[in-house]
Symmetry: D2
Subunit: 339 residues, 4 copies
Amino acid sequence: MLIQLEESLSAELQDSIIEELKTHGYKASLVETRQAQYLICNGKKEADIRYFGNLPGVKDIHIVEDANKLVSRQWKVQDSEIRFDDETLISRDDLTIVMGPCSVEDEEQVIKTVEFLKENNIKFMRGGIFKPRSSPYSFRGLGIEGLKFFSAHCRANGIKVVSEVMQVSQIEPMYDYVDVFQVGTRNSQNYNLLDELGKADKPVLLKRGMSGTLQEFLASAEYIFSNGNENIILCERGIRTFEKAYRNTMDLNAIPFLRDKSHLPVFSDPSHGVGIRNYVEPIALASVMAGADGVLIEIHECPPKAFSDGDQTLDFYQARRAIQRLRETMELRKKLVVE
Amino acid sequence: MLIQLEESLSAELQDSIIEELKTHGYKASLVETRQAQYLICNGKKEADIRYFGNLPGVKDIHIVEDANKLVSRQWKVQDSEIRFDDETLISRDDLTIVMGPCSVEDEEQVIKTVEFLKENNIKFMRGGIFKPRSSPYSFRGLGIEGLKFFSAHCRANGIKVVSEVMQVSQIEPMYDYVDVFQVGTRNSQNYNLLDELGKADKPVLLKRGMSGTLQEFLASAEYIFSNGNENIILCERGIRTFEKAYRNTMDLNAIPFLRDKSHLPVFSDPSHGVGIRNYVEPIALASVMAGADGVLIEIHECPPKAFSDGDQTLDFYQARRAIQRLRETMELRKKLVVE
Amino acid sequence: MLIQLEESLSAELQDSIIEELKTHGYKASLVETRQAQYLICNGKKEADIRYFGNLPGVKDIHIVEDANKLVSRQWKVQDSEIRFDDETLISRDDLTIVMGPCSVEDEEQVIKTVEFLKENNIKFMRGGIFKPRSSPYSFRGLGIEGLKFFSAHCRANGIKVVSEVMQVSQIEPMYDYVDVFQVGTRNSQNYNLLDELGKADKPVLLKRGMSGTLQEFLASAEYIFSNGNENIILCERGIRTFEKAYRNTMDLNAIPFLRDKSHLPVFSDPSHGVGIRNYVEPIALASVMAGADGVLIEIHECPPKAFSDGDQTLDFYQARRAIQRLRETMELRKKLVVE
Amino acid sequence: MLIQLEESLSAELQDSIIEELKTHGYKASLVETRQAQYLICNGKKEADIRYFGNLPGVKDIHIVEDANKLVSRQWKVQDSEIRFDDETLISRDDLTIVMGPCSVEDEEQVIKTVEFLKENNIKFMRGGIFKPRSSPYSFRGLGIEGLKFFSAHCRANGIKVVSEVMQVSQIEPMYDYVDVFQVGTRNSQNYNLLDELGKADKPVLLKRGMSGTLQEFLASAEYIFSNGNENIILCERGIRTFEKAYRNTMDLNAIPFLRDKSHLPVFSDPSHGVGIRNYVEPIALASVMAGADGVLIEIHECPPKAFSDGDQTLDFYQARRAIQRLRETMELRKKLVVE
């Protein structure tokens, strides 16, 4: 059972609700986010939901049988949206396209990419400044200094910054320069990091673990939400299977599944999901028809010179074509849903 | 190196070409299909392809480095088509939709399904009469008697029959009643069956093994082709992974990969690929945008009463909507390619 | 519910038992093997097992909740043994070692291998004469002619012949020359083949499918048993996973699991399970400690010259050492169980 | 190319070696551990290893072609050992047994477990005080307060403390109370954590990622080593596959593989590897025959009352039997190697 409390509830009333729940055999945990206050109620008895629903101070109440409560569609039927200060919106009605290089390499690269994005009316730029690399001897990113110029050029052009955070101690130094914290596949179950991002008030783009089940993925989102942050994007990015013809196996089944089980927006990362440049566009278009609310695509002015992931990166010509086709595909999907 | 010989070549000329190849260090294996004659040439030396290409009797020649030769795009750049006697065509320019029940259950079911397909201008009906079941105590299909009425109703209405063959001894009794032999996932590496289907002159719809790599999948197609049958459809149907939220993990990466590496038509089976009714349509639409030439979808007038696979089966209302949306999606794909 | 009938039961008594079951809401299927007659009873009602157990003609009765009945440990608590005409025994008390080449190549190879086996007191020789190969252009085995000399040399030396059967039509020609029919991983769910092997009266060594679950594996064994053949060996041979450092991932968890859930003997094939020569012995020894009743190991006088699978094949020196160590490990296991 | 420098080398001599390498086209990175100083040399040219080997200040030099250098057997042929202050040794000659509960629950539990370990001459106790849980609403461990009494009782009885560290900020508060830092499967590629553990001077027991390849696993160990800590234990704990009959699929192939490719000690965790109480002992014994240097086993006085992982936990009676059998199995392995 999950309860949303009225806003600006007195401490006394809140305590009395918790006490009342206790009397009826429920243990309630309070979750506070920027938007609302919730009570997650666990108990063995069957709930008379109407009784609790009529208590003063209770705004909404639902039985939620999923292991994951706050992120569940059983709790919230409408799709969640993410609204930024300048009214930029991540929502079901518009396809969010996030583009940029795997790694931020230098200022000139950022300038050219920002220019490309602006020309094509793309509102989000991705770029890694801390890179998780499987070898300790590989390039590990420019760090905060890179983030500063990356952020400056984006903001001067009305573009939002999406960048990966790898550990708790990076949250604070990154905070002023990013608009969306990205959590990579290797940190998808780094619960301490998720806890702390739940306390920050910036949206989190959470990637699925490379062998994470969808239940685990939703549980990771629940960590963030239950720590106070409702602005979460779920991102499918391919899973690890026996097939080695491509980097990962894009699991597009996850798109309708996640959209069915959760109210959170669902993105797709075809660049990592297939890992081969020529297949990125068809998998991106397929993601849209499967129901994705957004796509992340790696681009670079000259992919063969990219510091990392060049093989899966589109050049600007290919990116322009993909943007055009993604938008036409989204138009069709919206039209079909209305019919 | 792969050579296509001129049609109606004399035996002498053919022998002399093989002899010439031998002199230059090549061992040639002759493959004869209904359409053409090929020499598959293995040798350690580097080929002077122009020299052999100019020999009398040689129609075409290419270096093919893939492990699989005849099915490779390196051999044939154009997309292969499958043409039936009545000019029905499986080709890249038109989306082939194959629909029908998992199991043929009785004549009334067939009549209703055929009627539905005719109304919606669907040209192919699938239906199992031999069912591979994991338990020996489950329903194992109606057998040839079921196939007879299934086939009669289809043919009376201009619909092609697609049905699964499970072993060599079934090929002959099924031959007169089917238009496309389907090979199921469990038989994807049943090489004796593939050999014999290579000798038959009916198209073969070959499903990927549930843990088959794409290299193995193409090798299975090569078995059929090298035994004399060029009319092969590759069908992705989901693979087995750690994720158990759905029946299988649909591997849509396979669609652009197979279309890139092979000239054969590529179909998608979203019913088995996701195995949950409500997700079948989005995955079917996604398949089209990923590049599929056709889709197989399980339908039933009343899915809860289906003898098998009811959970993944669409009813007629859902099927009609899916057909409409599949066709609009195909229209968009064709338009995008032209742009 | 599973019933074993008394031997030499009259047809009338048998019918009356089936009728009695029917009256109480059970549908009974009769299974006849060389050893016994069984009734597999399906019904929704709860069984009063004592009532049926006291019917004349009923020898034994158990509730079996497993999906697979006859192969289940719930039916039969004691370990099954396989006894050959000459009193050779496959049983829990003695480790069965099966050795031989991947492919039978020529008569000399067979003679040398038989000699080696005899010297080391090994009672079973494996050798492929029909080879499932992923490419149609690879060596596909010597066929029945090879089996004839393979069998002649083995039998002249008191060694049993184990060889893979790939399709129904091979059963009859192989019958006189083999002692154990092997079913390979690609045919683990080839139900027609399993049905027919159930009708033959030779033991079957059934390999697990390369992505077969253990439930599917037991169901495949149930196919053989329910067609009349109780002499089945379950053989773990490695599964397909994301890890590509070795040919397959040996799943030793399967050994205690299968021994717990089924009464059938359980073998291990470390040669395919790891696929790298130097790791075959440690994995073989580990199999024994995990509880295997037998091991299959590929050996060759000169592995680099083997027609197939040379990389995972032991030479005679390595094989001799492995035999010695396997026997000492088995001694320890028996001692530990007694303590 | 990897170079070990002489101890107490002057800064000038060190610089001159690096300069000399540079002149010959090599970029050298200095790695300092408590035991030694290394130069990891990358360059495109072929090395004349004798030339560099004769430079003053160079103690040892090898070509190492593995992606991972310092942990590779190509660098160091002898098995690495870990020696504690009190001369307790983790080495190939003795089987290290680590036992204890999944979670530390209270002081009484610790006291009873310590007593059991002491009676059975077990030198290492495991116990979680920070628990990674897939749901944010589950018990997450007692934290540092639990570690304090856990550590006090162990040390009073000569037992070493093994406990999981989940993030960088926990290293310092845990430092005084643990003898071995354990890194769990979800943090196996948490590179910031690995970097920092590389700077600490306590041994690290590193678990394989649940879908980590062995190359990635060795790379994670390389992170720790290259940051200065040579005392690393590699621990196989089961991987994620399609098979759901048990919690994970124990990959015993990894044991001989890791022992072949790396000089680091290799442990096995059968409790997580199979996850079912009755199968833990056979898989533990199998691990020893496969070559493991140590095993981790979860035990609890009363497994059904354990806060977490009770299903895979042995009670004291079972644990005592397992210890006895593990030791006898180790005796056999040592005897076989000598023969």
